[in-house]
Amino acid sequence: MKLVMAIIKPFKLDDVREALTPLGVQGLTVSEVKGFGRQKGQTEIYRGAEYHVNFLPKVKIEVAVPSDLAEQVVEAIMKAAHTGKIGDGKIFIMDVERVVRIRTGELDAEAL
């Protein structure tokens, strides 16, 4: 099992969700986060006072999938979240040791 975690531009969230549903992805966790990468930040000007905003708002999505589905999920996210401009984000893929469904106690693949 793999955990695919992606940091994307906030307005791309719906595109990503729509791309994942047909693959059979059953669940998705979304968080609003702030951070910086190569994009650094942006400059805001209020009455001549310039502020450099270091941490830009992004959306983090996390989706746990069977290992054989991971590549397709990564590709789908990559395609859906792509704008070609700096700040599109990153995808991280991690191994998952165990999964437990709280309601039934099912484990691993059954619980996904």
Binding site: R47, G48, Y51, V53
Partner: protein
């Protein structure tokens, strides 16, 4: 000219027009009543009741939202609180002594205590009244007093822009009460009462360029200098909580300003209409002036920029409305929009004072621009005077200079006294945590 120069404006025609209504009333009313009753003009009174409500709306919620939108999230409620509390405090001060010190006869510098606690109202509440015992008004004194009260409220509330994010609430309350009595009432008396020296000298200030805006502006500058900069000024990110609030606040100010300026005719007449016209035109011109100046120098036209420009235009046309024609209104607006932009950005940064929300940069500078240009562009027939001239410009300079000196000097002294006794400024930790939670026990989540 919320005050005395109304005399230029009094025309016999008003009485003639009123006669058909007056005569039947005389016939019907009891003899003892007849001498008093007829002179109140219902049209004028209705407009002044309306104007009073409009000007109060400028402070709560207009100015409160305008300022609160520009401070950081942790200080939004405290900033709203300042305007609201000042509204309540000054209402009481104005009732007890403020109105009396400003608008009774007294001497050339300050009124007397003959209207202490508004005690005269018990007898005169249903009469027209003689301002300063000489200038006949066509509205009840209660309405005149209330209209003036809303000006007395907004003026100290404007000062809050200069010390945003860092003044103790207790110190602010004491400062505002003393400032209202020692600074505002005398200056209102100079310019608008029948006996004040500035009005007698011929200083033209239709709705408060000197009394309200230069007065608040220079007091704000003193606050910024005495209190010092906010913690982190110049390097921390101090981006505004919600520029949308500031836009709503500025829009309420704009609408309310029709009461402020057109109401200062103290009548529903042609001059009120001209004041309203000039106000609208100058405001739009100033908003565009600021917007284009910012666009050219910083690359983007900002919402905060265009609304700041509108306020600058409202300020600058305040002394001039009622004296100028539409053409000069555009000039006054553009000069104010570009001038205030320059002062609130370049000049402020050059000198390094932290006039946080540009009380001096917008109200002080805008007020001076408006007061001086009134001396240039005044149109004689509009007020039965001589019109703009080099001589009038000099008289305007005297009004501006005296206001800067008295307000600046007395504000400085008051601030120093409060600083030495109870202290002006919140602690560094309180400032970092934010005034909402540390001073008021509330916060926006």
């Amino acid at each position: 000219m919320t005050g005395p120069s109304m005399q230029h404006n009094k025309s016999p025609r008003r009485l003639v027009r009123a006669l058909p209504f007056v005569l039947p009333m005389l016939a019907l009313s009891a003899p003892a009543f007849a001498a008093d009753a007829p002179k109140i003009d219902t049209g004028n009174t209705a407009w002044m009741l309306t104007s009073t409500a409009l000007v109060l709306m400028m402070t709560i919620p207009g100015l409160a939202l305008f300022y609160a939108g520009m401070v950081r999230k942790k200080n939004v409620l405290a900033t709203l609180m300042q305007s609201f509390a000042i509204c309540c405090l000054v209402t009481i001060v104005w009732c007890v002594v403020g109105y009396s010190l400003a608008f009774t006869t007294g001497n050339a510098y300050v009124g007397d205590l003959s209207q202490f606690m508004l005690k005269g109202f018990a007898k005169t509440w249903n009469n027209d009244f003689l301002l300063g015992g000489t200038v006949d008004q066509t509205i009840p004194e209660s309405v005149y007093m209330m209209f003036q009260m809303t000006f007395a409220i907004i003026t100290p509330a404007l000062i809050c822009g200069a010390f945003a994010d860092r003044m103790k609430f207790s110190a602010m309350c004491i400062f505002m009460v003393l400032w209202s009595i020692i600074v505002y009432s005398p200056i209102a008396h100079w310019v608008w009462s029948t006996t004040g020296w500035a009005g007698s000298l011929g200083v033209l200030d239709f709705a408060g360029g000197t009394v309200v805006h230069i007065n608040a502006g220079v007091a704000g500058l003193m606050c910024a200098l005495v209190l010092g900069k906010r913690v982190g000024y110049g390097h921390d990110n101090m981006h505004p909580y919600n520029v949308g609030y500031a836009m709503i606040g500025a829009s309420l100010l704009w609408v309310g300003w029709f009461g402020f300026n057109a109401g200062s005719a103290v009548a529903a007449n042609g001059r009120a209409g001209m004041a309203m016209t000039a106000t609208q035109i100058a405001t739009a011109a100033a908003a565009l002036g600021w917007m284009f100046a910012e666009w050219m120098t910083k690359g983007k036209p900002s919402l905060l920029g265009i609304v700041s420009g509108a306020v600058a235009g409202l300020v600058a046309i305040t002394p001039a409305s009622g004296f100028v024609l539409p053409g000069p209104s555009i000039i006054i607006g553009v000069v104010a929009g570009v001038g205030c932009y320059f002062f609130s950005t370049t000049v402020k940064n050059f000198f390094g004072y932290d006039d946080s929300l540009d009380c001096w940069g917008v109200h002080g500078i805008g007020g001076i621009i408006g007061a001086l240009l009134t001396g240039v562009f005044a149109f004689g027939p509009l007020y039965g005077g001589a019109g703009g001239s080099a001589h009038q410009l000099l008289i305007q300079c005297a009004g501006v200079g005296a206001t800067l000196a008295w307000s600046g000097g007395m504000s400085f002294v008051l601030l120093k006294i409060i600083d030495m006794t109870i202290g002006l400024r919140i602690t560094r930790d309180e400032e970092v945590e934010g005034m909402d939670i540390t001073l008021h026990g509330e916060q926006i989540v």
